[in-house]
């Protein structure tokens, strides 16, 4: 089967493995992490056709021929994506295990809603957990990203 990841096609033997397993083990996209394995923590978030999904819950098979975006595909020509840059500017991470997931969820949120309210941000990002507790700066970073357009 084929996986379309970050604009490139990959031929993979996925079997019954999850999208997260195939991305990490076969294709080396290790920015997404397994945090809980049950879709609660969002550390494995990737965008499939622009929507954030938990890579640990989706079978690779289900993602065949759909557009998959991982954190590795976000920067272009060595330039950080604006959301990545605002996460740095606002100090929106600590251990950063969760950060790729938060950034991808933010990218999806801002595509759907260019100027979200704080309540909408909190609602949208509630599926991503940050145990270090960087939430206040994450909210600031999302707002700053939306202002930058």
């Amino acid at each position: 089967m084929n996986l379309n990841v970050n604009g490139k096609r990959y031929e993979v033997q996925a079997g019954t493995r999850t999208l997260l397993e195939v991305l990490r083990e076969d294709l080396g996209f290790v920015g997404s992490k397994e945090g809980c394995g049950v879709g609660m923590c969002g550390a494995c978030t990737v965008l499939v056709d622009g929507k954030p999904i938990s890579g640990c819950l989706m079978l690779a098979e289900q993602a065949a021929n759909r557009k998959i975006l991982t954190i590795e595909g976000l920067a272009t020509n060595g330039q950080l994506h604006p959301v990545q840059q605002t996460f740095i500017d606002e100090g929106a991470f600590q251990c950063a295990y969760c950060t790729p997931g938060f950034i991808l969820s933010t990218v999806a949120l801002l595509k759907e809603n260019a100027d979200p309210s704080e309540e909408e941000i909190r609602e949208y990002l509630s599926g991503n957990l940050c145990r270090c507790g960087s939430y206040r700066n994450i909210v600031k970073a999302v707002i700053a990203s939306s202002k930058r357009g």
Binding site: C95, T99, L129, S134
Partner: protein
């Protein structure tokens, strides 16, 4: 200069691009996959552990069982009671019995199902207070009453002091077992070449790991190399020794092939926990609002093995008294074995439990005696120059400033509610029967009394500097902080500093990255190394610049005199030196008497405070944290942004034990060992408004602030709830159900 600047973490780009090399990403040539086979019984004799069938599974390379272990294969910080895997007997559900190394994780999983284990069940006990009763099953021969540690503090004449009291309050507060729940699990890999180990592990204390492995395998520490990549959260849970002995023992059986273990989320819950605690405070108070005496009795549920508890139980004792002027204090702090997984440090170690107790009782006392809780605290908080219950004189304490700053955070004008706030929130938290209240909490915590940090600086040929440090970067920004301290002290741009470590083969000794000690302890070691390096540079450049040493300075990578300057690289070149290396060390050697608890408990005290404004829905018991303001004493802030992240992070982390976190057991089996049933704070739990500040002092001694604002969270919320609706919760976590039940009980009376 670099200290005091909010520079981003050094590897920020890697952190936002998913490029940080965490342990989970580690792949080594010929690497095998490890899998642990765990006990299904809370307490049993092991009659049989037969790996014959499992060994036949294609892809299985080796299996480790108790039979492989030598007589030394036990570890523990003070009591070596824990086997690398269980030998003869298991003492908790989830205890490792065997381990498998295989070519694939599938093969390892399949083999795990084929290991034949026979148990003969023994009676078990799960609560500390039950485990100390006569007739309770003893877990370890040497400790028939299950008490493996009894720490004592004896200060003043209790009988006389209680006799002076006008009122005596006695209350018991409990905290349940909880889990550190770093998003990165415990991960370790090991390789054995026949004489030497290399261990890669997400751990907070690489030298503790090295020492333990040296003892378990009876080889010199130098034959063990421990490498720690950036860690994806630890919070105490990766302190001490965790899975490394098992992983190393497995690697001894694979003919030199490396083997890696990544724990599942369910395994995390049986690997280390937060001590459940029952804390009884008996406190004598006079009508004038002063204390006469406090007697504290604590039972810490240590789980099945002593682990690091023999150190934490005395620390918890010192941390249980509170930052108040109390003439007579006795504490009995008991570490107790039960048939639960071993407990270890949980962010704000032991203070999370003890602050819950003493700060809750502060409000009980104030309320009953008719005082304002804030004023009652202010009246009794210790100040510099006064003596603590250990007998030591307090220096540089700022409890009042912390509390004032936190309280002030609630008095700031409330921004107007956002117009777009959804109606759902209004319905849930803002019903007509909602009531608001404010509450406060203050904390006082020791760091390690005796510990050592060493740092080595290498000035490279090109004028850049490499700092070798064993401080673990686990999200706190430890490496960035050390770079800033180096930059300022040595006079070199941040961009010219590279950090290496921890790697016990390359980086010098450090006790541990825990107890918020690194900024102070490693920071001072780095300063010492920089001072020596600077002196060397002055000695080497004074003749070149024809300037006396006392007129030289360093700036931006140059040695600078009045009119002339020379770059660090040129100082080396002109002296025919390739590189220059200097080391610095900082250590403290303090402690308290084991019988009386008198002495010096800590090189400095951790200080923090919190203020909460909550709204309680009296129809549902639901709590909304409207505002939370936190303050910690930092001495001198190295990086304000990172400090704010620590302060905020502690408050948010602290909402977990305060409001939701509890491992629920059924017959010793955790019923909620996953992040669906064990909730940790999400962005929706963030207080509507959160503010935090760091207090600095004139003296400017750097303090760590990795924990200070956490312990006040739970009592500040409980106190705010009582202020709002008049009910007192004494057992964590504070759930809507408990509040509703308390409200109903009160209305029935």
């Amino acid at each position: 200069m670099a200290i005091g600047e909010s520079i981003p973490m050094l590897d920020s780009v890697a952190r936002v691009t998913g490029a940080v090399d965490y342990m989970v990403n580690l792949r080594l040539p010929n690497m095998l996959f490890g899998k642990i086979v765990r006990s299904q019984s809370p307490h049993a004799e092991l009659l049989k552990v037969d790996a014959t069938n499992a060994l036949h599974v294609p892809g299985v390379v080796a299996i480790l069982t108790g039979e492989d272990l030598g007589a030394n294969a036990f570890y523990g910080a003070a009591i070596k009671d824990q086997g690398v895997v269980a030998v003869d007997r298991v003492r908790y559900v989830g205890e490792p019995i065997a381990a498998i190394a295989a070519e694939s994780s599938e093969a390892a999983e399949q083999a795990a199902l084929l290991i034949d284990i026979e148990y003969e069940e023994l009676p078990s006990v799960f609560e500390a207070k039950e485990a100390i009763q006569p007739g309770a099953p003893a877990l370890h021969m040497k400790f028939q009453n299950n008490i493996f540690k009894h720490a004592k503090l004896r200060h003043g004449d209790m009988e006389a002091a209680f006799a002076e009291a006008d009122e005596i309050f006695e209350d018991t507060f409990t905290s349940p077992v909880a889990q550190q729940a770093s998003l990165e699990p415990h991960v370790a890999a090991a390789q054995w070449d026949g004489t030497r180990f290399t261990i890669w592990t997400a751990a907070q204390a690489p030298f503790t790991v090295r020492k333990a492995l040296s003892e378990v395998f009876d080889i010199p520490p130098e034959a063990i190399r421990v490498i720690v990549p950036p860690v994806g959260g630890a919070y105490g849970g990766k302190g001490h020794i965790r899975i490394e002995p098992l992983v190393a023992a497995m690697a001894r059986k694979t003919n030199g092939r490396p083997v890696k273990f990544v724990l599942s989320r369910a395994e995390e819950f049986v690997t280390v926990t937060k001590h459940a605690a029952s804390i009884t405070l008996k406190t004598g108070v006079k009508r004038d609002g002063t204390f006469t005496a406090r007697q504290v009795t604590i039972y810490w549920n240590g789980g099945a093995y002593a682990d690091v508890s023999p150190m934490l139980v005395p620390a918890g004792m010192v941390r249980s008294v509170g930052p108040y002027r109390i003439p007579a204090v006795h504490v009995d702090s008991y570490g107790v074995y039960t048939n639960l997984p071993p407990a270890g440090a949980y962010r704000g170690a032991m203070s999370s439990q003890t602050t819950w107790a003493y700060e809750s009782q502060m409000d009980i006392i104030a309320r009953r005696m008719g005082w304002d809780p804030l004023e009652f605290r202010m009246k009794n908080l210790l100040v510099s120059g006064e003596h603590f219950a250990t007998g030591e004189e307090l220096q540089d304490v700022h409890f009042m400033e912390c509390l004032e700053a936190a309280a002030k955070g609630l008095d700031l004008p409330r921004p107007p509610l956002r117009a777009e706030r959804s109606t759902r929130v209004i319905e849930a938290g803002r019903g007509p029967k909602s009531k608001r209240g404010r509450g406060y909490g203050v904390m006082m915590k020791s760091t390690l009394a005796t510990s050592k940090s060493q740092a080595r600086l290498k000035l490279e040929e090109d004028g850049t500097v490499t700092l070798y440090t064993s401080t673990v970067e686990m999200g706190q920004g430890g490496h960035t902080t050390m770079a800033q301290i180096t930059s300022e002290t040595l006079g070199i741009p941040l961009s010219a500093i590279k950090i290496i470590g921890p790697d016990t083969a390359l980086t010098p000794f450090d006790s541990t990255t825990s107890a918020s000690r690194s900024t102070s302890s490693m920071g001072n070691a780095v300063i010492a190394a920089c001072v020596i390096m600077k002196k060397r540079l002055f000695d080497l450049s004074a003749p070149l610049l024809e300037t006396p040493i006392n007129e030289l300075q360093t700036e931006n990578g140059f040695v600078v005199a009045n009119e002339v300057s020379i770059s660090f690289a040129d100082v080396l070149r002109r002296n025919d030196l390739q590189t220059l290396e200097e080391s610095g060390e900082y250590s403290t050697s303090l402690g308290i008497d084991p019988e009386t608890g008198q002495g010096v408990a800590t090189p400095h005290w951790h200080q923090g405070a919190g203020a909460a404004e909550v709204e309680v829905d009296t129809e549902t018991g639901r709590i909304t944290i409207l505002r939370y303001a936190a303050a910690s004493f930092a001495g001198r802030v190295v990086n304000p942004r990172l400090a704010q992240l620590q302060n905020d992070g502690n408050v948010i982390f602290g909402l977990g034990p305060a409001l939701m976190e509890e491992i629920v057991y059924d017959g010793g089996q955790a019923t909620n060992p996953n992040l669906a049933d064990y909730a940790i704070p999400s962005i929706r739990d963030l207080p509507e408004e959160l503010t935090s500040v760091c207090i600095e002092s004139e003296k400017g001694e750097m303090h760590g602030i990795g924990e200070m604002t956490l312990p006040p969270v739970a009592p500040a919320i409980a106190n705010a709830i009582e202020a709002a609706v008049g009910v007192r919760i004494k057992d964590l976590p504070i759930t809507a159900e408990k509040i509703l039940r308390a409200l109903r009980e009160r209305s029935e009376q």
